[in-house]
């Protein structure tokens, strides 16, 4: 299959390209950029006039709900949703049922994902068996099966000794450890930020210190063990300050923020909107501002969707009982673009946050359009605004606080390994 993408605005952060240039694809790889190679006979020509052509997006947190939660979503539905969102590589957290703590489970997931021939799937291995925080998993075996990083998803590690040893063991093999900082005893039974809104609505709270206290332990143990740490889903201004300070001291730390937290605050809960029941909780306006600025100045490396499809019944409950999470793969690009537009950031720098940066964090060769690399691309219309509606979302989960909003950026084509896997 030979594809010629013509007249598109090629934006490639790693190669520093932002210009109208043609791309030529053959045998799943990028054969040429600019002029057509000799004797290139395209099987297909995609006219990308007035469209942006960029590396396929890399999403650091996509729950595919397999194994175990197929009633919420299936691998097929969520993989299709992901490519409809322009995502060509994704990391899936180990919070499945059973958790991804055995090589067999990981191999099965990789195999099932590969047979769909959509995006590349990178399972995040469980750091401890059953995510219970008691015994380490066979990280090296899991790595052989396809896990390249290890984490706990949202499940807290209550024992700092286990955390330290897990970091040490991971560092032995050079694996990075992904943790979401939240001290369980401080988060307790909370469901919302400890601020004015929770006070008004009478919702049990999760204080800011649940994040900062956890961060201080995690950062100190990172220093102790020398592991590479990736911090998932920062939510507070104070937390960002701590990460900034730790990085200035030379620690190997990266971090991400979820699309929801980049745009929303506790105010959006309104009259108990259960679509805003997220973890970490939506925090105050000053936290939101700090996240937006932290992403701009590089303290936060990447944006992820934190995709969590939830079936409708599980959201039709009182706020505190409603299941946590929001669907997101199809909103990653629009909401990151929206951030860039609102912050007046050049497109190339905006796209870096969902291509080059997450690829680097995940340690994969993706997120750039260099000659000879796999042709994973996203082609989208920057100018086209579309309304978020249940009917417009391919994911089985229709749960998002952004329902009804108009967002910029409509994906027109997604290519994985040189094949068109999505077309609007």
């Amino acid at each position: 299959m030979k594809i010629h993408i013509k007249n598109g605005r090629l934006v490639d952060p790693i190669n520093g390209v932002d210009a109208v240039i043609d791309i030529f694809i053959a045998a799943g790889r990028i054969l040429a950029i600019g002029d057509a190679p000799d004797n290139f006979q395209a099987n297909r020509v995609i006219d990308a006039q007035s469209l942006v052509v960029c590396p396929g997006l890399v999403d650091l947190s996509v729950r595919l709900r397999e194994p175990g939660h197929e009633y919420k979503a299936t691998l097929e539905s969520e993989m299709e949703a992901a490519v409809a969102g322009g995502i060509t590589s994704l990391a899936c957290p180990p919070d499945t049922d059973p958790p991804l703590d055995e090589p067999g489970l990981v191999e099965m997931l990789k195999y099932r994902a590969k047979s769909l021939n959509l995006a590349h799937v990178y399972p995040i291995g469980a750091l401890t068996q059953g995510l219970r925080g008691e015994r380490l998993t066979e990280m090296a075996e899991l790595n052989d099966a396809g896990c390249i990083v290890f984490g706990q998803s949202g499940v807290p590690l209550t024992s700092l000794r286990i955390m330290m040893q897990a970091m040490r063991y991971a560092a032995t093999f050079g694996f990075s450890v992904w943790l979401r900082p939240q001290e369980a005893s401080l988060a307790h039974d909370g469901v919302a930020h400890d601020g004015e809104i929770a006070t008004r609505l009478g919702l049990p709270t999760i204080p800011v210190c649940a994040e900062t206290v956890a961060l201080s332990s995690i950062i100190l143990l990172t220093r102790e063990t020398g592991v590479h740490l990736h911090l998932c889903r920062l939510s507070t201004m104070e937390g960002i300050e701590m990460v900034r300070a730790a990085r200035q001291q030379g620690l190997s730390i990266t971090c991400d923020v979820a699309i929801n937290h980049l745009h929303l605050s506790e105010m959006d809960i309104g009259f108990f909107d259960s679509n805003c029941h997220l973890m970490p909780p939506l925090r105050g306006m000053s936290d939101r501002g700090a996240l937006r600025n932290g992403l701009l100045d590089g303290t936060i490396d990447a944006v992820c969707s934190d995709h969590a499809p939830v079936d409708e019944d599980a959201k039709l409950l009182p706020f505190g009982q409603a299941e946590v999470g929001a669907t997101g793969v199809e909103l990653l690009l629009p909401l990151t673009l929206k951030w860039g537009i609102e912050m007046h950031i050049p497109l190339i720098a905006v796209l870096a946050k969902i291509t080059a940066a997450p690829a680097r964090i995940l340690g994969i060769d993706a997120g750039h359009l260099s000659l000879g690399t796999a042709a994973d691309l996203c082609i989208f219309d920057l100018e086209q605004y579309w309304r978020v509606a249940a009917s417009a979302i391919k994911s089985q989960g229709k749960n998002t606080p952004f329902l009804g909003m108009e967002l910029p950026g409509k994906v027109k084509y997604t290519l994985v390994n040189g094949l068109v896997v999505y077309e609007d």
Binding site: G202, L203, L316
Partner: protein
């Protein structure tokens, strides 16, 4: 997405009573005035009026309650409604039926009004946003969020004894953090023009940024009670008396329990209120609870008239 106040209909009339927050003073006063006209009814020999004849009121209590349930039942019956009490905590919920399924099933039985109590904040809002437009929902207490009829009967009681809201100092004492009564009282008092609302509690029993609700925060009863016209004591739940919130009921009583001595710091004609049930010797001394400044039993009596008022206004809108 809800773009308007979920408890008002398109013309700004009360469709549901979910919280006292965001309700205009005119609606609160309409309820109090209507309740005045029902106080006489409860003193008559024939205690029934036909305003809700032929209407079905379902008391949906997902959390155990005796007093509130009883007063709602009495109020509905005095308005001649058909009343059905459902102790949902031990029926359908334990069989796995969801909250909205329960409500839908009862709606199919031609319910006109739901009186809902639930342990989760926001439960009444959820139900109100999913029932048919001709069904009214009254929140009889949701989690820590709101208990509007309790606050309204408290306002009724205050007006009976103090006439004007606009020159009062009111102190709410106790477990503000977990109290739906306190939240609803604060919103009602500030809406009705009370110039100074105080909350008095240890820091472990106050929610974050409570001052944003328009109250002055005190941790010391001696300072907080000075010059107060109305004392609203809150019930301390048994499970919160010792543990992470408080060390012991004895220490709580010593520093935050209302005694005759502490009461003497308030205005000489100050009234003492409590939503019940009382923990004598924990948040309030028996001598005060039964003393001449206590209006606690009046609150219970007025509770029926206020709930009749709410039901009749909703049925008319």
């Amino acid at each position: 997405m809800i773009s308007r106040n979920p408890q008002l209909n398109r013309t700004g009339e009360l469709q549901h009573l979910l919280t006292t927050e965001g309700l205009p003073a005119t609606i609160l006063l309409e309820i109090l005035d209507t309740a005045e006209s029902f106080v006489g009814v409860t003193e008559r020999d024939v205690k029934k009026i036909p305003l809700l004849r032929g209407k079905s009121v379902f008391n949906l209590f997902f959390e155990p309650s005796t007093r509130t349930l009883t007063t709602f039942e009495i109020a509905a019956k005095r308005l001649s409604a058909d009343v059905h009490n459902l102790n949902v905590a031990v029926s359908s919920q334990s069989k796995g039926e969801t909250l909205l399924d329960t409500v839908n099933n009862l709606s199919a039985m031609d319910a006109d009004m739901f009186v809902v109590r639930h342990l989760q904040s926001g439960a009444a809002h959820l139900i109100a946003s999913h029932v048919q437009p001709d069904i009214h929902v009254i929140n009889a207490g949701d989690g820590r969020h709101a208990h509007p009829t309790q606050a309204l009967l408290d306002m009724f009681t205050i007006r009976r004894y103090k006439q004007d809201f606009r020159n009062l100092r009111v102190a709410i004492v106790g477990d503000i953090l977990h109290s739906r009564v306190a939240r609803s009282e604060i919103h009602a008092l500030t809406t009705l023009g009370v110039p100074e609302v105080r909350v008095i509690a240890p820091k472990t029993l106050l929610p974050a940024k409570v001052e944003r609700l328009g109250v002055h925060v005190y941790h010391d009863m001696v300072k907080g009670l000075k010059g107060v016209d109305v004392l609203m004591m809150l019930r301390l739940q048994n499970e919160r008396m010792q543990g992470a919130n408080l060390p012991s009921p004895e220490e709580y009583f010593k520093y935050y329990g209302l005694t005759q001595e502490k009461l003497s710091l308030a205005q000489p004609d100050a009234i003492v209120m409590h939503p019940g049930p009382l923990n004598r010797g924990v948040e309030i001394d028996s001598a005060v609870a039964d003393g001449k400044q206590s209006v606690i039993l009046s609150q219970v009596t007025f509770g029926i008239a206020v709930r009749m008022a709410v039901m009749s206004i909703l049925a008319g809108n």
